[in-house]
Point group: C2
Chain length 418, copies 2
Amino acid sequence: MTADLTIDLDRLMGRIAALGRIGALPGGGCKRLALTPEDAEGRALVTGWFRDLGLDVHTDVIGNCWAIRPGRSSGAPVVMGSHIDTVATGGLYDGVLGVLGGLEVIESAIQAGIETERPLAVAFFTNEEGARFAPDMMGSGVAQGGLDLDEILAKVGIDGVSVAEALAAIGAAGSHPVGALAPDTYLELHIEQGPVLEAEGLAIGVVTGVQGISWTEITVEGQAAHAGTTPMALRHDAGLVAARIAAEARAIADAFGPPQVATVGRIALTPDLVNVIPERAVLTVDLRNADEARLQAAEARLFAQAEAFAAAEGCRLSRRTLARFEPVAFDATLVDAVEAGAAALGLTHRRMPSGAGHDAQMFAPRCPSAMIFVPSQDGISHNIREYTAPEEIAPGVRLLAQVALARAGRVDQKGQTE
Amino acid sequence: MTADLTIDLDRLMGRIAALGRIGALPGGGCKRLALTPEDAEGRALVTGWFRDLGLDVHTDVIGNCWAIRPGRSSGAPVVMGSHIDTVATGGLYDGVLGVLGGLEVIESAIQAGIETERPLAVAFFTNEEGARFAPDMMGSGVAQGGLDLDEILAKVGIDGVSVAEALAAIGAAGSHPVGALAPDTYLELHIEQGPVLEAEGLAIGVVTGVQGISWTEITVEGQAAHAGTTPMALRHDAGLVAARIAAEARAIADAFGPPQVATVGRIALTPDLVNVIPERAVLTVDLRNADEARLQAAEARLFAQAEAFAAAEGCRLSRRTLARFEPVAFDATLVDAVEAGAAALGLTHRRMPSGAGHDAQMFAPRCPSAMIFVPSQDGISHNIREYTAPEEIAPGVRLLAQVALARAGRVDQKGQTE
């Protein structure tokens, strides 16, 4: 194999820290919601670094930005990317690592005099988090044709501003049309955002795909009544039905086994008084599985049981889908290459699905795509306590370099294409 | 038996409607929180009616008001009473019926030339609802020595105003000391506020006592984590523990059987997001039983199971008591008299405990006390839809008259004491 590329970990950590100061929160972490002034400042900082390296910087109409280092041949680039927007209580690593890690790979390659046959690119995509505008993975979804541009531009965010207005307000939209970024290969380095790698003491997650996601909002309508004077037999307790659904969600996850997960994150009762039987309960159920048939089976059991609980209590039940993504399987050859690269670098690793959504899943239908995970301390993300140590980041970036350069056709100073 | 007293149902319903116009809400019902300007207006209207009848009107330092029609002999009065304050979404009948029903008994007796050996009185008590100031049953509790006057005067309401300030603001405090109202007998006519009488097609509830009430707030502390990336085995889901406690509360009520009731009226999750495992859940459990030992057994089972659910999920649990009242048994002889009176008047009836708290329970330790229930449409109360038809009210007032006049020693025009 070719020698491991030497990366400058201090330079990378310095950039992560510098970007983290934009939108920094008092207790740590940062808030850099998509297309806000903070996002604009972050974009300026990162594209400045792109330009400092002499990369060709392009921005498309939805604000996706990519920077290309030309290859010896023309053709589609090998793209390393992710996002730089955060949730309202975000950390410094989610998304940022994939972008600045990709930048570090290119800068290290330039400094080492390593060229590639195909162009090599680093990119960030607009509004991956979905914390200001729904849906999430917006920029990558539009770029790859999964989402319709005009529909997306009209979406209104939590602050009443549309995507089109927000793009204009910070001048984030470029002139490149949707689809201008057509990668040969898409690679995304990311923190795991879960506890598995840390719990198992492993350096690398070889991501095999993204779990299918099913978000359902369930509304139960019962009848408010006095908690003291209403006999149990005459009650229509919407809160009880919600509680039974929440317990059933856990029972489904237990019965199906990994990788099935199930979460009830929200429960709202009306009127929410200590001595009044709830007349209304609204709850959300988040179901995920890497296998579409299993995910559908989990949904079917949950919905059937929810209906049965409601009927037994004399309540009405309705539900609406908040989000539904089928599982995505990453390109088998590319996943094998990531795994082989980890082994070649002597890094402990395991295959695993991603439980969270990522830009990579939007690219997967169009080009070979894969992801590399590094550990998250305590499995925490979307939280100011999000943390991955520099010595845990380094192996991920080395592996990203290994796979990206190989896919792009690495040519070392001696002129030999690998 | 003596002839049934003829009451003027139109006059009574007219007064209920007139009082209901004070603090009337747009959709019906009314809001007449304790010691507000609306309450002051209501007090003025009702005491005006008292004075129109030539009754001796007295007000004590906490704003309780009673009006006495002297008996042939001196001695403690037979008191008919309740309250005229309402909750924020109150109806026209809760409390008001007991006061204006008592007034109707006295006015009808005067018009029929019926006298009594003991004085006969009608009264209303300050802040029974507890909707502005905690605790509820405040005025009757202070009057009967169950609550300390100075402590109560210092209580601050939901609007930041103390009881003492609110009393002063509307001039509701009188000169009579605490304990000046010492009834020989206390009788309270009230709407059931529950569905039992309507469901069983009965006219009268012969109230045997008030259920013991146990309100507990339970806080579960787990750990927030990503709903997609956190395996089920590594979760500490505070929301799941709350859901299991809610289901257990119902299981306890089912296992114990009537009159045990159990209600989880509030559940609040933090951070309350669809894709984040709840790190914190706060819920309330309302347990009631007419038997103190059974109520303690219900509490013990609930608390033990809640601890077990928390431990199994790796969560911490804490709880605090929001309210705790032991069951109150009304005077057996007086309850028998109410039941016999209902039978004598040919009214369908059943014995039942009160699931809600009432002023009568504050009097019960000091003098023979009892209550009469009339049906509530759909069991609804503390709601602008609260309703009891005039033809359902009339039997309650007739029975109140029957029992009150008998206890006071009815003397008809012919001069014969019953």
